[in-house]
Symmetry: C2
Subunit: 246 residues, 2 copies
Amino acid sequence: MVWSVPETNKVEPVRVRALAFDVFGTVVDWRSTVIREAEALGRAKGLQVDWTAFAEAWRDGYHPAMDRVRQGELPWKSIDELNRMNLDALLERFRVEGFSESEKEDFNRVWHRLDPWPDSVAGLRRLKAKFTLTTLSNGNVGLLVNMAKHAGLPWDLVLSSELIGHYKPDREVYLKAAELLGLAPGEVMMVAAHKYDLRAAAEAGLRTAFVARPMEWPNRRVDLSYEDAFDVNASDFLDLAAQLGA
Amino acid sequence: MVWSVPETNKVEPVRVRALAFDVFGTVVDWRSTVIREAEALGRAKGLQVDWTAFAEAWRDGYHPAMDRVRQGELPWKSIDELNRMNLDALLERFRVEGFSESEKEDFNRVWHRLDPWPDSVAGLRRLKAKFTLTTLSNGNVGLLVNMAKHAGLPWDLVLSSELIGHYKPDREVYLKAAELLGLAPGEVMMVAAHKYDLRAAAEAGLRTAFVARPMEWPNRRVDLSYEDAFDVNASDFLDLAAQLGA
């Protein structure tokens, strides 16, 4: 696929070689999976909890926790560790009692068992024939690998903030991913459902593909509009594959 | 697969979750591929060179170059860079002239295009159903990814010395690989055709599988003997899969 280059950078058109995927919300449906497992756990324990609110609050704690690491307030912690920190706080806030340590650990690993969006696996398989496919996620390596085995996600490699020592949207993450792939930033296209991630990727010189995921936050007002600033705007991974000729 | 634990470490038997593969010589047949491409290049250029000797000398330069990095004599250099450094010296030593810069760069990337041993892809596919499969190679990430795309190697992830900042057999490489996978060292089995690699892995607490590759150095005396010190000794990856119940 040959992309035209922005006016400000009139060199040769750049061929995209690799697609770098945001994962939570873009590839996998964290919300449904967390709610489903939490409800099953709640039933088994005889608890009355609003597990939808619990799941959304758990996810809401993700960015503030990473920001504390990004700003140096916390030393490096993996997403497993940040999720666990937030889980412990939420169990208290929602007055959930009676979970053993091993039950908490297992529940925290629900993030390793997230289900893909219905189009994800088929779309990635098509894209894999034409591009190198990597994760570029704030999730730690072990989490992303377990998730890929669970969900059948056919990554060529697993790149993670953990390997780079910075969380997205730090610029270093995007630049280092391209460097590790042996590619120029413009040969890598970031694929994400979140515009802040794409804007930071574009700022670092990567190409961008926005994929709308209206079911990530079905009860919230989220910006799902297509924008010319992105190289591609797609409704799902099959649409993305079609647009990229894969 | 449950492994008995050595006498010296009487804890629970450990279940192997992930296999970590040495790549050059263990998964791919660097020698045949480099000789074939070099001979074709030599014919095209009308050169008379002993390309078998050239290929073997190129590979022989690999360990001394890495050792200079390991001992701090050179700053971190990727295998692409070390291969290029050695290539330039060999072109001079074998009095090969008339290669343009882009021809040298392309020839250096022959290491990205190595062919697998005949059993590698089928064996890995079987093993992938039961285990997480990672590279654990001194090759840089971009090289390993390009090779996997070329050869159809179905890795779950690509771990490399480049991500860890140490070359094998430094202990850090083995320990960090397990940590990144979220596993205990004893849950990871190193698979290699080279005993120094397996011994260093065992020293770090990993399980070990020796795979004999007599055709890596067909004209040299290489230690291909099976040893009880390794958890598994196998004739190829199909034999390895059979022994691991995959």
